[in-house]
């Protein structure tokens, strides 16, 4: 536990250095934050335009889809802000920067995740928070639902943490296949914007047991909305998000350890 606190403090120190560095170019900083907010903002306008042609999407209304969209987006934004730079380990390997990091007395994963930490992703965080907040006004709240909502956001972030770290590890083997991970991280985030019943049953099974993004928002949101699962899965799934988060995270850390052990420098 003391170790974890120490790691978090080191992470904070490295992140703070990068924030101060980014402020040296204020115009670029502001443009990047606005641009990031714009990307996600226009994303939601896309959803809204879609609903200009629809009453509901396979039985889900706009506020209900907004709840799915907002919660998944918030979870992704948290993970992306905290550890998004892990995507770049391929570059660190190619340039030899990873070798430098390995010689320092700070855990490698902490260094990689905190490296080039950027607050510009606040744009996405704000936009996701606004959409989620709006959708929340349509939920019929009970104390248990509030608890499930909080656990959903934390577990969702953990699932995305795990996906970011786990799939980035592919780069220990193929340094230039960065995009492969995007299919699971950003792809997972895109899938969860929609009610899962627009997909065939096999997709839902895959998103539950293989890449568990269904636990990021789909199952807990069904509980928040008081809806039965159109696929008829057991009700206990609606409370299983923390388990999915922990499992994904554990698996990712194991893959990370294997990757680091496997790693041999490119020699550059």
């Amino acid at each position: 536990m003391a170790d974890l606190a120490q790691h978090l403090r080191t992470y904070g120190q490295i992140a703070w250095l990068w924030i101060r560095a980014a402020w040296q170019y204020p115009t670029s900083f502001v443009l990047l934050a606005v641009g990031n907010g714009l990307i996600t903002g226009l994303d939601f306008i896309g959803l809204w335009i879609m609903f200009a042609h629809l009453e509901d999407l396979e039985g889900f209304t706009l506020p209900e889809v907004a709840l799915l969209y907002g919660s998944a987006s918030l979870a992704l934004a948290c993970a992306d802000t905290a550890i998004g730079s892990v995507e770049r380990i391929g570059t660190y390997i190619r340039t030899g920067r990873l070798d430098q990091m390995m010689t320092k007395p700070v855990p490698l994963l902490v260094q990689v995740c905190a490296d080039q930490f950027t607050l510009r992703r606040l744009g996405r965080l704000t936009q996701a928070g606004l959409v989620f907040g709006w959708a929340c006004t349509y939920v019929d709240w009970t104390p248990l639902r509030a608890l499930v909502a909080v656990s959903m956001l934390v577990s969702g972030a953990l699932v995305f943490f795990g996906l970011f770290v786990g799939f980035s590890c592919i780069q220990f083997w193929t340094t230039d296949a960065t995009e492969f991970a995007n299919a699971f991280t950003y792809g997972g985030a895109t899938v969860t914007q929609y009610p899962l019943n627009i997909f065939p049953r096999e997709v839902m099974v895959g998103l539950t047991f293989v890449v568990p993004v269904a636990f990021v928002n789909w199952y807990p949101c069904l509980y928040l909305l008081g809806r039965a699962d159109p696929f008829g899965t057991p009700e206990v799934f609606q409370f299983a998000s923390p388990l999915a988060g922990l499992l994904t995270m554990t698996a990712a850390l194991l893959v990370w350890r294997t990757g680091v052990r496997h790693y041999t420098s490119t020699g550059s």
Binding site: H53, E179, Y194, I198
Partner: protein, 270 residues
């Protein structure tokens, strides 16, 4: 086209080869584009199931549109980047001063290079996802040879329009030193107004009118409508004319910006 033409062909060929060295990246990209193609296909199928004639498309048009978007994403460098990233980097380091005194136009040089890049991406990340779309979903092919040829022409024009916008974005580095902020902003507009996020035919009222008039419509909406056979006769000529108009206007703007920037570079160097 005398010696200059040969030079540009050589530049394009080199760019093609340069991009073809990243094999694993290309395969990973095809995989990722296909995953997104599948996700969006199901989303659009749900939309068109609820509203079978939305935007004048049917369900097959809509799914075809999804896969065309995934196939063209890298060819037209929708997110920005491509060879104009090299330009931005050379502006930042000051190396561009050397380029400006070469006896070859900067716009032509980078355009040739970007066409080489686009050709590579079309052959790999264009055809790859299209094949997967043909196998997994029932996507439509162009209804006539004329539509296929017009699509090819439209695609070249799309690359040119996109190049000109990316060149202008990179040029902001002359003043801002760093293009990354502008690149993200411009990427956001490109995704939204090209019809990548949602076909522009679904955009309601004034938003639709605006989106269809902006240059980004040349990226995906116009080529896709030609592929789908939505434009014929005079309408087809008008669609291509729209792209030509933006290509000319924007390339002109590139030359203008470069002239302004050159003055600035000379002053700095003085």
């Amino acid at each position: 086209m005398r010696g200059g033409g040969m030079l540009h062909v050589a530049v394009a060929t080199r760019a093609f080869r340069r991009y073809s060295t990243y094999r694993a990246a290309t395969l990973a990209g095809i995989f990722t584009n296909s995953v997104f193609g599948i996700i969006y296909s199901y989303a659009y199928l749900a939309l068109w199931k609820a509203n079978p004639t939305a935007g004048g498309y049917d369900a097959q048009d809509a799914v075809t549109y999804v896969w065309l978007g995934q196939a063209l994403l890298m060819t037209i460098a929708l997110w920005g980047g491509g060879t104009t990233d090299d330009l931005a980097e050379r502006i930042r380091t000051g190396d561009v001063a050397i380029d400006l005194y070469r006896p070859v136009g900067l716009v032509g040089w980078y355009l040739a290079s970007d066409v080489g890049r686009a050709a590579y991406h079309l052959l790999t990340r264009g055809f790859g996802p299209t094949l997967i779309g043909l196998v997994v979903f029932d996507i439509a092919l162009p209804p006539s040879p004329l539509a296929a040829v017009a699509f090819a022409v439209s695609l070249v024009l799309a690359v040119v329009v996109s190049f000109a916008i990316r060149f202008l974005v990179a040029s902001t580095a002359f003043w801002l030193l760093d293009q990354s902020g502008m690149k993200v902003m411009s990427g956001a507009f490109a995704i939204f107004f090209s019809g990548m996020m949602l076909p522009l035919v679904l955009f309601p009222g004034w938003l639709g009118t605006l989106a269809n008039a902006l240059p980004w419509a040349s990226y995906i909406q116009v080529p896709a409508d030609i592929w789908l056979g939505k434009h014929t006769g005079a309408d087809l000529a008008a669609a291509l004319g729209f792209q030509v108009m933006w290509a000319v206007v924007l390339l002109g703007a590139c030359q203008g910006v470069l002239r302004l920037a050159t003055r600035k570079v000379v002053v700095q160097g003085g």
